[in-house]
């Protein structure tokens, strides 16, 4: 099991990270990435899968490929894995275009792919389809707290059951995309993505854990000590996917990565720890 309830009634949800990848793309980079999200030896990605996909799907998928290449892990290794993806405000650009068309021209103007390709489940579904992963796939978050929700959900969903591991894919535009009605956003917006391959803790080199206050045993009616943190747009952004990606790329894993402020979750304290200097250097 990937948790333990301690005497202080804190629950530690933990995992090993067996691979990670980081990707970034501006709006200008997206067409290129859509055509060629990354190399993958011995595996053919369905040709038009990303053709109408949301921008976050494209960059998130590229982060998974980056991880596989970086760690030299073949796609076949992940056949029974699950995918959990936490994009932030997926579909905003496509929605801006679709709403303008719908209000101007009606039903006929709406592309049928708007829901399948631009919803919260679309990123996880696309990765599952593209890479033939047959474990569970679902989306988490969607709003400002997407990253924290994704981390919490992944660590609590991960199990020793029939699914050997779980890809957690986190994506976010920084600054958040502000499209005009043609779907174009400001040039400075960059989509950041981090892909983490998680398995139940087994003493591996890179570990991740979230500590949350547990339900106090024997005190069913006691109000738990869940600090409620203020909503803070800047903090969510600064300590978001971009910061995690930068942290992972920097190789400074031994220090706590970040502390996420999140309106809908308790204070999730995320820690990465690398035990082996050799593997750390390999990942870098």
């Amino acid at each position: 099991m990937n948790f333990c309830a301690t005497t202080t009634a804190r629950v530690v949800l933990a995992s090993d990270v067996v691979a990670f990848g980081v990707e970034r793309a501006s709006l200008a980079d997206l067409p290129r990435l859509r055509q060629a999200p990354g190399p993958l030896a011995g595996w053919e990605i369905p040709k038009r899968l990303l053709h109408r996909a949301d921008g976050q799907t494209v960059v998130g998928f590229a982060a998974v490929l980056n991880a596989m290449n970086r760690w030299g892990m073949p796609v076949a290794h992940f056949e029974e894995w699950g995918v959990l993806a936490a994009p932030q405000y997926p579909g905003r650009s496509a929605s801006a275009v679709a709403l303008r068309k719908f209000i101007k021209s009606g039903v006929a103007a709406i592309m049928p792919h708007i829901i399948p390709q631009h919803s919260l489940h679309s990123l996880s579904g696309a990765i599952s389809v593209a890479l033939g992963m047959r474990g569970p796939n679902f989306g988490v978050g969607g709003g400002r707290a997407a990253m924290a929700e994704g981390l919490f959900a992944a660590l609590s969903f991960l199990d020793d059951g029939p699914t050997p591991g779980l890809w957690l894919v986190l994506t976010q535009w920084v600054p958040e995309l502000a499209p005009d009605t043609s779907g174009d956003g400001p040039d400075e917006s960059v989509c950041h993505a981090v892909a983490l391959a998680l398995v139940s803790p087994r003493g591996g080199d890179l570990q991740m854990k979230v500590t949350v206050p547990g339900v106090a045993p024997g005190h069913p009616h006691a109000r738990p000590a869940f600090p409620r943190l203020a909503r803070d747009e800047d903090s969510c952004e600064l300590a978001g996917v971009a910061a995690l990606g930068k942290h992972l790329d920097s190789g400074q894993w031994s220090a706590p990565a970040a502390r996420w402020l999140c309106p809908s979750l308790p204070d999730c304290e995320l820690e990465f720890h690398f035990a082996s200097e050799a593997r750390k250097q390999r990942a870098a």
Binding site: A96, R134, P224
Partner: protein, 405 residues
Amino acid sequence: MTIGKEAWITGTGAVTPLGSGLATFARAILAGRSGVTTRQLLPDQPDTTQIVAMVDAIPRPPGCDASRFARFNRLEQLGLSCAAFALQDAGLWQERASRRIGLVFGLGAEWLRQWELDALQGGDRVCHPNRDAESTIDLIQEALELTGPAITVAAACASGNYALAVARRWIERGCVDVCLAGGCDLIAPMAYAGFHNLRALSRRTDAPQAASRPFDVDRDGFVMGEGGSLLVLESSDSARRRDARVYAEMAGFGATSDATHMIIPNTDPRPAAQAIRRALEDARVAPEEVDYVNAHATSTPAGDPAETRALRLALGSAAAHTPVSSTKSMTGHLLSGSASIEALACLAALEHQALPPTINLENPDPECNLMHVRGEAYERKVRVAVSNSFGFGGSNTCLVLRKVA
């Protein structure tokens, strides 16, 4: 499974095209009543009507005055109403702020809906990210003073089953001792247009109440519905301590992905069958012990036979005598809300010891050869009920609910 940490369902809140609350919903589905009607939905086609299953009125939750409730949009009202009445039904309304109550909300296209609702009122929120501060779960938490963790999950039409699965894990692991879980959705014109252009919707406009006809040879697509349900999951220890009424145990969950196509169901039944088998194994239930299957069956030409093959593969010889029905024939397809109201249909079967029917099933498709509950409900001993929910992105999920002795 740790003794005392089993996830029991002790409360329900529901807003459906057949009325609100489990009792009303159960009466309607066991009577074989259709909630499908026609409405004028599309602004550019004022002379046409669309076949839909809509919610007429969303009940205002206790403690929320009318003017405050009116400030929420319909999607938020749906979630808030389901959550509040579920807590009330569980007997946890008064003590909700003193317990750690989590929330796992299944909603696949939350922001698409929010932006559309705003745009149809003349707004341009989609272009202004700073107006998107609060998610629906934030509003529900704040309005109900909930202090536990809250997340939104999505697997399209399987969202509610994932919500229940995550909530169960939280209870097993001691992150919460009570958790609201389920899903909601509403009919929005642009979403309707998207499904229409995908050619996924029934076009039987001359007979709307006969339009949703899962497993029937003349089915031609699904009927879009709206509404949803949130269930209260609670550890068995907690439920026992407060002598709570228990509807059922959430005994098992299984999930897989087709990994073949974003929209079209896999013709290979093995991934979906594996999800069903995993759920049964998780619940330690043999196929012969399944008393009722609430099928995903949406009434589409491709989906219903695909599910039939999966059920036959998963249940083996037991498939021949396991009753199956699709309550979407009465409710329409509630998208993100569908899995949780179908869990509710299973609770109705467990509570009333009767099986809700598939209505409009006049000529069963030979490719859908199952033991159908056709046309009318009938009494039967129900101890174990299974609910399938599949979704875009190739999601296959299965839930096992068991009566608690």
